[in-house]
């Protein structure tokens, strides 16, 4: 039993080591030739542009439900005029990055794992190797860079659409003028403080997190995809593991980033 535990622990540590080696290589290859620019653009389209519909939907409905819940709670204190502040703070700092991250982990992370896993089991990864191409440079680096670039863009869209959804509910359901709603949104952003004089702290929170989440999603997907064994069943396992691991990592890392940012960027 002890031996079994030993083996399992070694396998985990070895797996972690492989993940970090893969991450290091993938990022290192971004700064050396050959660089697969067309693959990067293709991945930015697949990861970013094609994720816009689900991000629009989740952002809009999250903003609406936030405004709805806030209106009920704030009504008790006669403070419904602050709905805009609550929606903006929640969306920009937390819900925007995390929800976009979880949605992209489900859509893109699973897609990356399934695609690379299928390539592994049909020997296409071996074929790349034998044709003198490093599969990490060709397949992983463009995906990681695309995710690092596109996740903040998706999050900004998610934030904006969420605040817009809140505006629709607060004016149509609660009866707050749209101009007042948007003024409280800007007040909230300003009240969070600024870094480098003009950059609101809320934006630092809201853009650093998706950047990290993008890296997590792409690297976890590539790692499980490239390690796929066991035919088509293995592809299914890799896909599931990617979504579960990336989602958990997003939530855990979100906490630690928030802690660090709150310590270094006091409001």
């Amino acid at each position: 039993m002890l031996e079994g535990f030993n083996k399992a622990a070694k396998r985990r540590i070895y797996g972690l080591q492989e993940f970090f080696v893969l991450s290091g290589k993938a990022i290192g290859f971004a700064f050396s030739r050959p660089f697969y620019r067309s693959d990067l653009i293709q991945q930015m389209d697949a990861i970013g542009v094609q994720s816009i519909p689900i991000v629009l939907l989740t952002g809009f409905f999250t903003g609406m439900v936030l405004a709805l819940q806030a209106s009920v709670q704030l009504k008790t204190f006669g403070a419904t005029m602050y709905i805009g502040r609550l929606v903006a703070a929640s969306m920009i700092r937390e819900l925007g990055p995390v929800l976009a991250g979880l949605m992209v982990a489900g859509r893109v992370g699973s897609g990356i794992a399934a695609q690379l896993g299928s390539m592994r089991v049909t020997e296409q990864i071996d074929a790349l190797n034998t044709l003198g191409t490093d599969p990490i440079r060709k397949l992983v680096t463009p995906r990681v860079l695309a995710a690092l670039i596109m996740m903040p863009v998706l999050t900004v869209i998610n934030d904006f659409v969420g605040i817009l959804g809140g505006s629709v509910i607060s004016s149509a359901y609660v009866g707050i003028p749209t101009s007042l709603y948007w003024r409280t949104v800007f007040e909230q952003i300003a009240s969070g403080g600024f870094i480098f004089k003009y950059l609101p702290n809320d934006f630092v929170h809201g853009l650093l997190k998706p950047f990290v989440f993008g890296g997590i999603i792409a690297l976890v997907g590539c790692n499980f995809g490239l390690k796929t064994t066991g035919g088509t069943e293995g592809v299914g396992v890799a896909t599931t593991r990617t979504v579960v691991t990336a989602s958990i990592l997003i939530l855990v890392v979100d906490y630690f980033i928030t802690q660090v940012l709150l310590a270094f960027l006091p409001t």
Binding site: P34, T122, E123, Q124, D126, A127, N129, T130, L131, G132, T133, D134
Partner: protein
């Protein structure tokens, strides 16, 4: 050169109707043309079989007995031993067939030659260079000397036939797009596929035999010195098997390529091999010419050959 049988050659398919215009992307029909090609290949294989071995030996002699591939006392273990003290070599222009029961580590030998795996003990030489100590970047360079044909062809399914064959050329040469197109057409014609019909097709649109032929065309796109084949005829019907066997022989005869073929198919092995290596119990139990194998009194070899 050997006397060729009178009659139609595989290339006659294009010569028969030179004015015929075929729109790109038109699916290939298994019609009269293809049947004639297959019949021609079958006739040629039957006529060439007895003289083939002598011819390959002549090619090998021209290559001045240079060892292009060599495995020396190679040991490999994963959870359990895979290969034990495996030694064999191939001179320039030779075709070595590695045969053996399933799960005896035949495909592992190809991965060792490509340095996708590194042996625990022993040495692997490619064109005189010891490759087991190479780093990843240098291993990629050595792999450019080799073309590999995978069991399932392993064509990139996001790319069409043209892009698949052009891939190694775009990666490792400075050829212009026109030169690449000319090379791709030349290779497709070599493997008896009509470029106008297949260039734009995706791997999923091709039959198993056509995928294998495109795999061979991709493997030879860079004009490698060495071709490696992993079960090139598995899962194919007898006539397509004959077509692929014919292509391997043609590649060796016309271009003097050194080949290592992993296969179960003893009939094809006897047709194409200069030497056969039989893997049994993780060791090479026999390494010699097809004639020596056929005349061997060894019980395992007799059982292995069965009724052949």
């Amino acid at each position: 050169m050997t006397d060729k049988p009178e009659g139609r050659r595989p290339d006659d398919r294009r010569q028969a109707n030179p004015d015929e215009h075929v729109p790109p992307g038109t699916p290939i029909r298994r019609g009269e043309d293809e049947m004639r090609v297959r019949a021609a290949i079958r006739d040629e294989l039957e006529a060439d079989a007895p003289t083939h071995t002598q011819e390959v030996r002549a090619v090998a002699k021209r290559e001045a007995a240079r060892k292009v591939i060599a495995l020396q006392n190679v040991f490999l273990t994963f959870d359990q031993p895979i290969l034990k003290d495996v030694t064999f070599d191939a001179l320039g222009g030779e075709t070595i067939v590695v045969a053996g029961e399933s799960g005896t580590g035949k495909s592992t030998i190809l991965k060792l030659l490509l340095r996708l795996l590194v042996p625990d003990k022993g040495q692997v030489f490619i064109d005189g260079e010891e490759i087991t100590q190479l780093n990843f970047a240098d291993a990629l360079k050595v792999r450019q000397k080799m073309g590999m044909v995978f069991q399932g062809a392993a064509l990139f399914d996001s790319m069409n036939v043209y892009e698949n064959i052009a891939y190694p050329l775009r990666e490792h040469t400075d050829l212009s797009e026109d030169e690449i197109m000319a090379r791709v057409r030349e290779k497709l014609e070599f493997v008896d596929l009509d470029p106008d019909r297949v260039l734009e097709q995706l791997p999923s649109d091709l039959s198993g035999g056509m995928r294998k032929r495109v795999g061979i065309a991709r493997g030879m796109a860079n004009n490698p010195q060495i071709m490696l084949y992993d079960e090139p005829t598995s899962g194919l019907d007898p006539l397509t098997t004959a077509t692929i066997t014919h292509l391997i022989i043609k590649l060796q005869r016309e271009l003097g390529v050194t080949s290592v073929v992993v296969t179960h198919d003893i009939r094809s092995a006897f047709r194409m091999a200069t030497k056969i290596a039989v893997l049994n119990e993780r060791k090479i139990s026999f390494f010699g010419t097809p004639e020596e194998m056929a005349s061997s009194a060894d019980k395992y070899l007799r059982d292995f050959l069965g009724g052949f």
